[in-house]
């Protein structure tokens, strides 16, 4: 009889250890990547690393500026495409669409969330690149191979559709029905109710969804790597090639141990990526927790 309780106690502690272990991964990551990037941080000045635009690992020059700027460009283009489309679709799904439509659309969007990024990348190469090369770039009078920021942005934008739509729909559903009724009862149309009351109430949640989408796009590697062109220069227009941080890390892991400081530089790139994504995620999750609390 006693054994049952001992077993219960033992497993309780074991389970708690599992939790401690899981959560400690974040700290282990920060610590491990920091230790590995120490050499470059000690040998180079802050401005050499973050403000310089020259990337010549063989000459020992590691300027991150082109990569940071490239990441931002691609992510911003992706968000410009994704935000309006996702927001409108989420409003449609949660407020207007008939049940028959949502029953079909929601699983479809879930399905897309599961498609691997390499597949998105292949699609980018097969469909988006020719589209930009043959139609969009000539339209603006630019000669382009198709590879570049715009291609990366389009592919990434489509990749973040599911996450932004899913969270936005959840946020809209957490807005109490009574709030809508209060506005409708005053004679507001459905759209006025959404515009003036529902969207306002849902604003923090929408922001969180956007931040999460942004950070997903920010860290996405393979799909972007395949379509942005990977040229380590600061881009000047959306038809230029770029070289985002994740692509830099993925592309050069093979040779990084043979060039001094190269591995340290790539680990620093990972650390920067991790820190930024952590900040975005923590902010967004805190907002979502507050949203959830305020509706309970």
């Amino acid at each position: 009889m006693k054994f049952r309780f001992l077993k219960d106690k033992f497993f309780k502690h074991l389970m708690f250890m599992c939790i401690v272990f899981s959560i400690s991964i974040v700290f282990l990551m920060l610590f491990g990547l920091f230790i590995r990037s120490l050499p470059i941080l000690q040998q180079k000045s802050f401005s050499d690393i973050f403000l310089s635009g020259t990337w010549h690992p063989l000459r020992g020059e590691f300027g991150f500026a082109p990569f940071i700027v490239g990441t931002l460009w691609v992510t911003v283009v992706a968000m410009v495409i994704a935000i309006p489309l996702c927001l409108l679709t989420a409003i449609y799904l949660s407020e207007y669409a008939h049940r028959r439509v949502t029953v079909f659309l929601k699983p479809f969007i879930d399905l897309l969330a599961g498609i691997p990024s390499v597949v998105y990348g292949i699609w980018g190469v097969l469909a988006v690149i020719p589209l930009i090369r043959d139609y969009i770039a000539p339209l603006f009078g630019v000669r382009s191979t198709g590879y570049g920021i715009l291609a990366g942005g389009i592919v990434l934008g489509i990749m973040v559709f599911p996450i932004i739509i899913q969270i936005c729909v959840e946020v809209f559903q957490s807005v109490p029905k009574e709030l809508r009724e209060a506005s409708l009862a005053l004679g507001a149309t459905k759209w006025q109710t959404i515009k003036h009351s529902v969207l306002r109430k849902a604003l923090p949640g929408i922001l969180a969804a956007i931040v999460l989408g942004f950070s997903r796009a920010f860290g996405e590697t393979m799909a972007v790597l395949m379509v942005v062109g990977n040229v380590p220069k600061i881009p000047k227009s959306i038809f230029d090639c770029a070289y985002p941080l994740p692509a830099l890390i993925a592309n050069n892991y093979g040779e990084m141990l043979s060039v001094p400081l190269y591995d340290s530089a790539l680990m620093l790139a990972s650390l920067i990526l991790l820190l930024l994504v952590l900040i975005f995620n923590i902010l967004a999750r805190l907002i979502l927790i507050r949203v959830e609390r305020s509706t309970q």
């Binding site: 049940r99 109490p176 029905k177 009574e178 709030l179 809508r180 009724e181 209060a182 506005s183 409708l184 009862a185 005053l186 004679g187 507001a188 149309t189 006025q192 003036h196 009351s197 306002r200 109430k201």
Partner: protein, 253 residues
């Protein structure tokens, strides 16, 4: 059937999916009186109330037959413009739901929606209706504060002011005092009595004593059927139906 009163219901049936919520309801609501809809919970009181301004439209799988005449116009007719029906009726829900904006904007919300842009005119409207709901003195220095910072009782009065600001002829209340403290409840009840000189008021309540205190006219629903309707004296002193008698004496609930 001719109809002198504001609201007149003929053979109303409401279904949610396969569930028959309201069965063949026919009634007349007297003008400029307080009408109380009473009955045990789940009997369809709220559904009846929300049929009056067609808020039930937004529920999934709802089907409505029969007619509801408001000023001799059948509001269930598919071609009718719902927003103008709703404008005629203010609604107070169980819990106050201030809109996510300032106190001022809450009251100004309705008038703005209906096209009043003039700032001076809006100021007047806001002041007028906040005074009418005894809220002006309490909030006049913080009109731009979010409405969610008010106490629950104040919020409910704000919701009343917001409803009155679109100049309705009818006020609907869905157990409007059930979430309030006794003092705020008293204020709301007194307001209703004052307002009944100029407005037709319909409240849903499960508190019998509240119905006795307020109502001039009473409608008793039981499991979706209209059991009895009549003046407050008739229903409370001299009910015709056994069921009504049993409910009023607390034998069924």
């Amino acid at each position: 059937m001719d109809c002198q009163s504001h609201i007149c219901v003929n053979n109303l049936n409401v279904f949610f999916g396969k569930e028959h919520i309201l069965k063949n309801i026919s009634l007349k609501i007297p003008d400029k009186k307080i009408t109380a809809i009473i009955g045990p919970s789940g009997c369809g009181k709220t559904t009846l109330l929300k049929s009056f301004n067609r808020l039930i439209d937004s529920y999934d799988g709802v089907k409505v037959t029969g007619e509801i005449l408001v000023d001799d116009e059948n509001i269930l007719h598919p071609n009718i413009e719902v927003t103008h029906i709703r404008k005629k009726m203010g609604l107070l829900l169980q819990n106050p739901y201030p809109l996510p904006m300032s106190i001022y904007d809450n009251v100004a919300y309705g008038p703005r929606i209906h096209g009043i842009k003039n700032k001076k005119k809006l100021d007047e409207i806001v002041e007028h209706y906040l005074k009418q709901t005894n809220l002006w003195i309490e909030v006049k220095d913080r009109l731009n504060a979010p409405a969610s910072r008010l106490s629950v009782g104040q919020q409910q009065r704000l919701c009343l002011a917001r409803g009155l600001a679109v100049e309705p002829e009818i006020i609907l209340g869905d157990e409007p005092t059930s979430a309030l403290d006794p003092i705020s409840s008293k204020v709301i009840e007194e307001k209703f009595q004052e307002l009944s000189d100029n407005y037709t008021i319909i409240i849903v309540t499960h508190i019998l004593r509240q119905a006795k205190r307020l109502a001039n006219y009473v409608i008793f629903l039981y499991l979706g059927e209209l059991i009895e309707q009549g003046t407050a004296e008739e229903i409370f002193e001299n009910p015709k139906e056994e069921m009504t008698k049993a409910y009023i004496q607390g034998k069924i609930s």
